[in-house]
Symmetry: C2
Subunit: 143 residues, 2 copies
C-alpha cells in the first residue's frame, strides 16, 4: 500500500484525483504501478486500477493474472471491479471506502452479482486513514 | 447498428468474440467504431464499447460525450456500462440481451444503483436476432 500511496500522491501533483494502484504477483513482486491519468489522457477509463492491471498483463504476456493482488488506495468503482474480475486477480486490497462511487462494498456491488464469474478475495480499509486523508486534502484544496 | 454488426463480423474474422460498437453524435455522425480486441491486445478491458468510447473522446478532445449514442451489438457488461456512464453518453442502444454477462438489464444492473451518477437512456433488443445469431454462430463453430 506504501507504493500505491506514493502513486496517488504523484497523481495529485499532476492535478489528478489521488488514487494509486499496484499489482503484485504471488511472491509479492511488483508487476505494475500506476496513478490516475483521467485528465492527462482525456479518458475517464484511465483509472489507476485499469492502467496497473493492463501493464501487469502486458508484462506477463497474459490477459489473466491468477495469483496476483491488486492493491489500490480507494475502493474500486464498478468498472474497475469488473475489470479486476476479468483479469482474474486473486485478491483486491483497498484503502478508503467509497460510499458514493465504489462498486465493491457499495453501489452495484459487482462481486455480489451471481453473474460475476470470478470473485476475488477482498480486503478493504487497509491504511484507510492515510488513503482517505489524501483524497480529502485534494478535494478541500480545490474548493 | 449496421455498422456495429460489420465491426462484430470483422472481430469474428480475427478470432475475437463478435461484438461491435459505434459512437455517433447528436446529428447521427459517426465518431468512432470498433470491434472486440481482447485477444489481439491481450487485454480483457479491450471490449468494443471501451475502444469506441475512447476513440470518440479522443476525436472530440473531451472526456465527456454528451448528446452521443453508443450503439453495440451486445448488452454491455458492468465494466462497459459504468464506462459509458463516466463518458456521459446520452443513450445506449444494444442488440442481443446477455443474461450471463450483461450489466444493464442483468447482473449488477449498473444504472439501477443509486450511486450511478449519470444514467443514459437505454434501448435494448435492436436487431436482436441478427446480433445474437452472430454470437451463437461464433461459439458453435468453436465447439
Amino acid at each position: 500500500m506504501d507504493r500505491a500511496l506514493r502513486e496517488a500522491q504523484a497523481a495529485a501533483a499532476r492535478g489528478e484525483v489521488p488514487v494509486g494502484a499496484v499489482v503484485t504477483d504471488e511472491a509479492g513482486t511488483l508487476l505494475a504501478a500506476a496513478g490516475n491519468e483521467v485528465e492527462a489522457r482525456c479518458d475517464p477509463t484511465a483509472h489507476a486500477e485499469i492502467l496497473a492491471l493492463r501493464e501487469a498483463a502486458h508484462r506477463l504476456g497474459s490477459p489473466r493474472l491468477p495469483g496476483c493482488t491488486l492493491t489500490v488506495t480507494l475502493e474500486p468503482c464498478p468498472m474497475c471491479a469488473q475489470a479486476a474480475s476479468f483479469f482474474r486477480v486473486k485478491r483486491i486490497v483497498f484503502g478508503a471506502y467509497d460510499p458514493k462511487g465504489g462498486g465493491v462494498d457499495h453501489g452495484a456491488r459487482i462481486f455480489a452479482a451471481p453473474s460475476c464469474h470470478h470473485v476475488p478475495e477482498v480486503i478493504g480499509g487497509v491504511r484507510e486513514t492515510d488513503c482517505a486523508a489524501l483524497l480529502r486534502g485534494f478535494f478541500e484544496a480545490r474548493r
